[in-house]
Amino acid sequence: MTETIQLGGAKETGFFPRLRTIIGRRTEGRGVILLLVILAVLAFTQPLVFTALPVTIGRIALIGIVALGLTAVILMGELDLSVASTLAASGVVVAIIPDLRIAIPAALLMGIVVGIINAFFIAIVGIASFIASLGMLFALSGLAFVLSNEVPVSIANQDAGLAFGQPLFGPVTPRILLFFLVFIAIQLFVTKVKAGREFFAVGGNRQAAYDSGIPVKRRIFTGFIISGFVSALAGVIYTLELTVATPTAGSTVLLASFAAAIIGGNYLKGGRGSIIGTLIGASSLGVLQVALFLSGVQVPVQNTLIGAILLIAVITDPSSLRAISARVRATLPDRTKVEAQ
């Protein structure tokens, strides 16, 4: 080869330029900034957040676990609105089967089945995931009410449930441990495993994914199964910790998990984002909620604040920023000066 064409910037070699390139390639920037700002403010106003660290981490795990599974689906540009009701229904399943050794696998299996049904409607029948999973949301919350006979169901083995809420070692409760296991598993899956990496292709350019021979439908199935399974796992955790399954469980989960994913830099149309981003988003939300709770801030105010942060997360997306600045300038009166006339 005698001739090459240099079209892009060359690979950076120095340490700092290299570091800058690496950081420039990440999508979590906004989530990190938000988390740092929150932590900095709280260090002065609510140091209790840090002294009660196990509780704070537990809170993060509570918000985050569903968000992690959801992210797998969001990366493909799909939505799974059924996560919260999957959680409720699987929680009820755990409670109505007396033997936990059967109940837990049954609940998890239910999550997988829910994922398969969602994916069937989306990938095979061709319904938009918003609609398919919305249908699933209603179906499952109905199922949760039917299975529970519309009342909270206590688990038979109360002691097992109460034990489940206790730390295993140090501050680590089973919930926190499971959360980190799920995080590591999904993180490895979407960064190291070929099938997981291809989620980005399915979300970023589906036609390209098809054309390259990627089994797009199978990937969609995988994604929804992950989401369903993780939601069901969350349902199991919720029920065991509460020792009671409520058919209304997880009513605040759906929005919180989407919020965590969005704050973490995941693009709802797919192809851009990361599991680490979701972890950071969940951490920001979790810490913020703990802090606001400790300050006794009214819930509507809390929600307003979280909504504002969500909006900021969305509008600080580089492409949105550009559009906004252009529009703002266009609406401002013409201030252009003529230099040489």
């Binding site: 005698t2 064409i5 079209l7 892009g8 920037g29 906004r30 900034i33 938000l34 700002v37 929150i38 900095a40 403010v41 106003t45 209790l48 009660a52 196990p54 509780v55 537990g58 809170r59 509570l62 519309e150 009342v151 909270p152 206590s154 109360q158 449930g161 109460l162 809420g165 910790e241 509460l242 009671v244 409520t246 058919p247 209304t248 469980a249 997880g250 009513s251 605040t252 989960v253 913020l288 703990v290 802090a291 606001l292 709770f293 400790l294 300050s295 006794g296 801030v297 009214q298 819930v299 509507p300 105010v301 604040l305 504002a308 900021i312 600080t316 580089p318 920023l321 550009r322 600045s325």
Partner: protein, 368 residues
């Protein structure tokens, strides 16, 4: 071989945009987030000063009347499933905080929105904050055990309001003050039986939100009493609604069309707001609500006028003010050791019946 003068690093437009993007990416969110953080800390600060201020003013007014400041101040976390977002909650919180301030109790309020898991998480945080006491209004009555265990392990006393916990969980708490939800159902049933006065009547029943403890208790109280005491009243159908007039109107209309309006002589709804919805459903059919035997629970600002107008036969007064005033009293007795662990005090709000006869009395003026 062609000679090349290729542009490096994309088109000029793209390069410049790239630069701009970077700087904005860092600056804009940082500025916005800083602003939001200020709002956050501002809110927090405002909130705390507000409560302390009110505490001061209350105690100073207290000074002038009783010449005695509270001997001790207490920090109490109040874990509620609703707050100023709902009428009952907000009319309860006002006397709660006022009376609390007089007694030297500073309440930190939370609102879990009836999500039991969220309430458990809030309970964990509250326990970690090590307050003097926790006041619990359960989001789901049967799902409080882990919270109670955590508080018990930390030696923090728990007082329950509004919806009592089950007998198994009761020993972990110091007591309960609030409505007798089962008794309210009974009282409404008594009103129904009284109104019907021995006639053979079919009624439809609108229950509260599915799975909600209050809804279940009132349903049981009503049904038990009707079955035992007035067999002439037949419950033709029952359905859950979401406590709102709109939801109740919907399910009432459904039941009316399923059973046939000619077979229905009365309606019981577990809440006055839902009575209002059911009345609307009747009126939509061109019926006059006063021709029907209708009872509710609440004596709310919506329900009381219905009684006066004769559209509703009677309702049962649930006083948010009573609950808000009494809760700090009992909490204070717990905190000062007057109520010891194991005493388990239960204080029911009187289930006062309100009919056309007493609907104008000041004692039963609607509060919410």
């Amino acid at each position: 071989m062609p000679s090349l003068t290729p542009p490096s690093g994309g088109t000029q437009r793209e390069r410049k945009r790239g630069k701009m993007r970077k700087s904005r990416l860092i600056l804009a969110p940082a500025a916005m987030l800083a602003a939001s953080a200020l709002i956050l800390s501002g809110c927090a600060a405002e909130e705390t000063t507000e409560t302390t201020e009110s505490a001061e003013t209350e105690s100073s007014s207290d000074d002038t009347t009783t010449e005695e400041a509270p001997a001790e101040t207490f920090e109490v976390y109040a874990l509620f499933p609703q707050g100023n977002d709902q009428a009952y909650g907000s009319t309860l919180i006002e006397p709660l905080q006022a009376n609390g301030a007089e007694l030297g109790i500073n309440f930190t309020l939370s609102n879990s929105g009836y999500d039991a898991t969220k309430q458990l998480a809030e309970c964990e945080i509250a326990v970690a904050a090590q307050p003097d006491g926790i006041m619990l209004w359960p989001a789901v009555g049967s799902a409080v055990r882990p919270c109670l265990v955590a508080a018990d392990n930390a030696g923090i006393p728990v007082w329950v309001i509004n919806t009592d916990v089950g007998p198994a969980d009761a020993p972990l708490t110091y007591g309960y003050s609030g409505p007798d939800t089962y008794g309210q159902g009974v009282a409404s049933a008594e009103l129904m039986c009284e109104a019907v006065d021995g006639e053979e009547v079919g009624i439809i029943q609108v229950n509260g939100a599915a799975g909600n403890g209050t809804a279940i208790d009132r349903d049981n109280g009503f049904t038990d009493h009707v079955e035992a005491n007035c067999p002439n009243v037949t419950i033709l159908a029952e359905q859950n609604a979401d406590w709102t007039p709109a939801g109740a109107k919907q399910v009432a209309a459904d039941m009316i069309s399923a059973e046939g309006i000619e077979n229905i002589g009365g309606i019981y709804a577990a809440d006055d707001s839902m009575v209002d919805g059911a009345v609307q459903a009747l009126e939509d059919l061109g019926e006059d609500a006063s021709d029907y035997f209708i009872t509710g629970i609440g004596n709310t600002k919506l329900g009381n006028p219905l009684v006066k107008e004769g559209k509703m036969y009677g309702t049962v007064f649930q006083s948010s003010v009573w609950e808000g005033e009494n809760a700090p009293e009992y909490m204070h007795r717990v905190l000062t050791g007057e109520i010891a662990k194991g005493d388990r005090v239960t204080a029911y709000m009187p289930s006062v019946k309100v009919t056309a006869e007493n609907a104008d009395d000041p004692e039963v003026a609607p509060e919410w």
